[in-house]
């Protein structure tokens, strides 16, 4: 002890002689004169709360403090857990002080610190919901779209520019990709944190075997509970209603979501049934989107819908019910079932003015459009999944039935009325079984998919069109185009994965068969006569494809690097029977190599490179040789031959992520080039009738695209800032009225979003996006379309439980006829805390804007469209929670 004290003194002496600074020294004693050890002594300048230096008393209560300040007097703070705090003001002069303190047990203020807004634990980024919640926010989707690093494109959630692969609540995936329904209805205050799991491998048996670079999202609830949102609203004018009853239950082993929604206020709630998962090209694809509907071959002439908030323009009447349940059994098997039905009626009215630049002529068409779309949709499925470390087993069964009846009244060039009716029916059913298990040192994976579908459809046009082509120039009353498709598909695969010297090697064999039967005919009618057109308009085709492939997949991860390589070899046999005549089977074999390299060079930075070369032969649906009328002024046919496409894709992706500073950013570049051994021949006549067929002529296109996103949370001022930008250019070949041309196009744009919630009486959100696209045709005609949107939302909370929200949207375009439009909505909300309900009064489209004009470029046309908007409306709604 003596030695140590001596050393201590020596040190002080040295400092005094070397630096001529003030040294406060002394002794702190208790009431009986004993030195107090381990007491801290800090000094600050008077009037400044920042501590400039500190020291601690030694075993005898002695201290010495070197002061760097030049101020005359200093505030010395002494603190000790047993003696409390004592402040003394001293003169800034080297001196010895004797200070005494009295034992006074401390009562500390109890402190509860919320978790930080964003923190990372292993591969999981946790967003504390409370830190991002504003008084206006009700459902979890309101929070998710504000989080730094996350963007929402429509209802799809992207993390660092890439779609999430899974959306779970308490680690269970109830909705199987249709997560919009949870996102729009789960009350935000039931959720504790939003978790983003980077590099997540959702299949446990593949965990740490097959590496993933995709992210999953999990919502951790505050407790296992029954919750959900409800809303009842009425309005004027016309008579408006909105009903939403969505109770949901999240228990340890059981989850359910039921919903009943109906409205005519412009909310297309059927979007909540959309599946957002995209399949993976890994060893096992667990996505549930196994149903493929038969395509629609015909359509009404549409009027382009405005590219902004649906509620401002969608004239709808929708009714939807859906039931979803998940049960986790004792042996960890999950059983999921769901069924959804909706009935939707939409009215779209507007006016389209098209300028088509055919070589040597310019065709101008005007169309006054009144369309009604009626849809019934029934969809359901059941899934059984056992996802364990030792075994993976999944069976998905899904079906879908659709009944669509659309009706269109059109006035062509202000003089000729044309009526169109479209009928579309679709029935599809599919089952997929997949599994994986270790056999010896290998991981064996199996999958088998089988699907069947039938899609009858019909388009009726009155009076008959294409008189020159179909009726020797003689007018007739009615044209009926019928198409009936039946399709069958099976895909089966087996793969063996094995790790050799750190490389995961996976040979995969695949065999499948696809068949499609296509029947179509065109019936014309005049008076009481009706007749069916000949061979040029009648398809009776059965196309089949036997697909087999062998893929060698390679993967390696070491330290900061990850490499994957896939070299699939395909051998396809195609057969075709047309009008009862069978042609010789055609065989195609090709390699589709692809690979990627990822470097995660430190905690924050990651870069990946990927490239692929793909050969692809046109599917079964576009081998028909007889014309099909796809709308009242479009007629199309293909050739029975196989159409070849070759494409080359390269991309670079860079990502920066610093959760401590809450900074997220990503940049990507993509180059693609494709080559085809055919080109679409477009012929447009003076009346705007478009004939599309296939020409045996090589064609191609290429493009370069750059895009980037960045976001940061400034937690001290409660503000999140997000920015995005993009630029792209490319060229593509076209053949119009027998002349080959090349279209150059370029687009660029950017946006910024600022979300502020630092004040308790006010929250502000501002978002702007602008974009420009330029097309240049072969004859150097150049079209430039610019759009710019500003959204500015302010909510004020003057008194507790009352709020006013003012939403502004300002749309700017460079269309000459269009004056820039400002939309305004006002919402007053009264929150009843006790019952956790809201009473809301809103006025939508306060300025009563009734038409929206937009202009856009298609391949060789500029289309200007006028769309009728929803008029000014008032709505009273009652919102509650389950």
């Amino acid at each position: 002890m003596m030695v140590r004290l001596f050393a201590c003194f020596l040190l002080i002496l040295f400092s005094v002689t070397i630096r001529a600074q003030t040294v406060l020294s002394g002794k702190v004693v208790d009431s009986v004169g004993h030195g107090i050890a381990n007491l801290s002594i800090a000094y600050q300048e008077k009037g400044n709360s920042i501590i400039l230096g500190f020291t601690r008393t030694g075993p005898e209560g002695r201290f010495s403090l070197h002061v760097k300040s030049k101020q005359d007097s200093l505030l010395l703070t002494l603190s000790h857990l047993s003696y409390g705090k004592k402040d003394t003001v001293l003169v800034n002069k080297t001196a010895y002080h004797h200070i005494s303190m009295i034992l006074s047990p401390q009562i500390l203020k109890e402190v509860q610190v919320g978790p930080p807004p964003i923190y990372k634990r292993k591969d999981t980024i946790n967003y504390t919901v409370e830190s991002f919640t504003d008084k206006q926010d009700r459902v979890i989707g309101d929070i998710i779209k504000k989080l730094p690093g996350i963007e929402m494109v429509g209802d799809r959630i992207l993390y660092q520019g890439k779609a999430i692969q899974k959306y779970m609540v308490n680690n269970l995936d109830l909705m199987g990709g249709r997560y919009g329904m949870i996102n729009k209805n789960l009350p935000a205050d039931a959720v504790k944190k939003v978790q983003l799991i980077e590099n997540d491998q959702p299949i446990k048996i593949l965990d740490s075997v097959v590496f993933s670079d995709r992210a999953s999202l999990n919502l951790e609830l505050k407790k296992y509970t029954t919750t959900g949102s409800g809303e009842l609203a009425v309005g004027y004018k016309p008579v408006l209603w909105k009903v939403n009853l969505t109770p949901m239950t999240f228990n340890r082993t059981f989850q359910s979501l039921h919903t009943f929604q109906s409205n005519n206020i412009g909310l297309d709630v059927s979007q909540q049934t959309q599946m957002y998962y995209t399949g993976s090209n890994g060893i096992i694809d667990r996505a549930e989107n196994i149903i493929r509907s038969g395509g629609s071959f015909m359509s009404l002439r549409h009027v382009a819908v405005p590219g902004f908030d649906q509620r401002k323009w969608l004239d709808n009447r929708i009714f939807m019910v859906s039931s979803n349940v998940l049960k986790k059994l004792k042996d960890s098997t999950e059983i999921k079932g769901n069924i959804t039905y909706y009935h939707d009626l939409q009215k779209r009215e507007g006016y389209t003015y098209s300028q088509i630049f055919a070589p040597e002529q310019e065709v101008i068409i005007s169309e006054d459009i009144h369309n009604r779309y009626r849809a019934h949709n029934l969809e359901g499925g059941m899934a059984l999944e056992k996802n364990e470390k030792k075994i993976y087993l999944k069976n998905d069964f899904r079906f879908r039935r659709r009944w669509n009846d659309d009706e269109g009244q059109l006035l062509f060039n202000n003089e000729e009325p044309i009526q169109q009716n479209k009928m579309y029916r679709d029935f599809s059913i599919a089952n997929k079984l997949s599994g994986a298990k270790h056999v010896g040192k290998q991981l064996v994976s199996l999958s088998s998919l089988i699907s069947y579908g039938e899609t009858p459809q019909q388009l009726t046009v009155v009076p008959g069109q294409f008189v020159d082509i179909v009726n020797n120039g003689m007018p007739y009353d009615r044209l009926i185009q019928q198409v009936h498709i039946k399709q069958f598909n099976t895909e089966n695969a087996i793969s063996f994965s094995r790790s050799i010297n750190g490389w995961l090697i996976t040979p995969k064999f695949e065999i499948g068969y696809q068949q499609q039967q296509l029947n179509s005919d065109v019936e014309l009618a005049k008076g009481n006569d009706n007749w069916i057109l000949g061979n040029d308009f009648t398809n009776d085709q059965r196309a089949g494809q036997l697909k087999s492939s062998l893929n060698i997949g390679l993967q390696r991860k070491w330290r900061k690097w990850m490499v994957t390589l896939n070299i699939p070899y395909y051998l396809n046999v195609n057969d075709l029977r047309q009008n009862g005549v069978r042609s010789d089977p055609e065989t195609r074999s090709f390699l589709n190599p692809g690979g990627s390299v990822r470097l995660k060079w430190n905690e924050y930075n990651e870069v990946s490179l990927s490239g692929s070369y793909q050969t692809h032969y046109s599917g079964l649906t576009n081998r028909y040789a007889a014309y099909i009328i796809s709308n009242y002024r479009n007629i199309q046919r293909y050739r029975p031959r196989l159409l070849e496409n070759n494409a080359w894709h390269n991309s670079v992706y860079y990502r920066y992520r610093n959760t401590l500073d809450a900074v997220f950013a990503n940049l990507s570049y993509a180059y693609s080039r494709s080559h085809r051994d055919y080109i679409f021949r477009n012929t447009i006549d003076d009346n705007g009738l478009n004939t599309i067929s296939i020409e045996d002529q090589n064609s191609g296109n290429w493009s370069h695209r750059w895009s980037g996103n960045g976001s940061k949370l400034f937690s001290s001022i409660g503000t999140t800032v997000k920015i995005n930008g993009k630029i792209g250019f490319g060229r593509s070949d076209y053949l119009l009225n027998d002349i080959m041309g090349q279209r150059k196009n370029m687009d660029y744009g950017g946006g910024i979003e600022i979300i502020n919630s630092s004040w308790s009486f006010l929250s502000v959100q501002y978002k702007t996006n602008w974009g420009t696209s330029i097309s240049t045709l072969a004859d150097n005609t150049r079209y430039r379309v610019m759009t710019n949107v500003h959204d500015f939302d302010v909510s004020v909370y003057p008194v507790e439980n009352h709020s006013f929200t003012w939403n502004n949207a300002f749309y700017i375009t460079n269309v000459e006829a269009q004056k820039n439009q400002l939309f305004m909505d006002i919402i007053y909300r009264w929150t009843l805390k006790k019952t956790r309900t809201d009473l809301e009064f809103s006025c939508i489209n306060l300025l009563n804007n009734n038409q929206y004009i937009q202009r856009f470029n298609s391949d060789y046309a500029v289309i200007e469209s006028y769309f009728d908007l929803r008029p000014r409306q008032f709505l009273i709604s009652y919102k509650f929670r389950f």
Partner: protein, 229 residues
């Protein structure tokens, strides 16, 4: 993790470890039934160090091995050289000031609350004029954050007895032992007779698991290379 402080000493340990110790102590003293298996299982934790701080020493207890009396102790007379900076933020309503120090091969950034007269903090950190509310390394690989501060009155049983101190080892030695153990867990446990693999295959997979674990467990709070070399 919990930091238990009284005027003379403090303990920093995993909260679950604390529960386990109390349970074991209670059953040793015959105060509770011996069948606490459920409670013990629910409180398993991979964090197996304790930090005892007295006025002049920091004593670390590492018990990563299976079996009894496997604790290893080392003592440090560490005085942190904190550089105070004028930056302040508010955490949980407390005004905090920033300080930095180098320790265990990393640069650490700490935020302390002068209004709380506790010169202590998480892990081995201490020596600032106020409680360390947040401390993290500059690479953001390790971060300790205060969740709550409460006054409790409870008897805490720890394995370190001031009056009958254990045999202290060198810090280096403990680090090297731990590294060796992680790398060769299977062999050591086999040799000690605690574990017997079912067959050669499971033995081999155990060895492989150890190798992987050792490879992954390379980012200790105090960097191995900074302590041992």
């Amino acid at each position: 993790m919990e930091l238990l402080v009284n005027p003379d000493e403090s303990v920093f340990r995993a909260k679950k470890r604390g529960v386990l110790d109390s349970v074991l102590q209670a059953s040793l003293e015959g105060k509770s039934s011996t069948n606490n298996f459920g409670l013990i299982r629910a409180n398993q934790t991979p964090i197996n160090y304790y930090i005892y701080k007295t006025a002049d020493s920091i004593i670390t207890q590492e018990d990563y091995q299976l079996g009894f009396n496997k604790e290893q102790f080392y003592i440090e007379k560490k005085i942190f050289d904190w550089q105070i900076s004028p930056d302040t933020i508010t955490i949980g309503g407390m005004k905090c000031q920033q300080a930095t120090t180098d320790f265990g091969g990393r640069k650490w950034i700490a935020w302390f609350a002068p209004e709380v007269p506790i010169n202590d903090g998480p892990y081995k950190f201490r020596g600032l004029p106020g409680l360390i509310v947040k401390v993290y390394d500059s690479k953001e690989q390790w971060s300790f954050n205060l969740r709550s501060l409460r006054k409790i009155q409870r008897k805490v049983t720890v394995k370190f007895d001031r009056n009958d101190p254990p045999d202290f080892m060198q810090k280096k030695e403990v680090f090297a032992n731990k590294k060796y153990y992680i790398r060769n867990r299977m062999k050591i446990e086999e040799a000690s007779g605690l574990v017997r693999p079912k067959d050669e295959k499971s033995r081999r997979s155990g060895l492989e698991r150890d190798r992987k674990r050792a490879e992954q467990d390379n980012n200790w709070i105090e960097l191995y290379d900074a302590i041992v070399h």
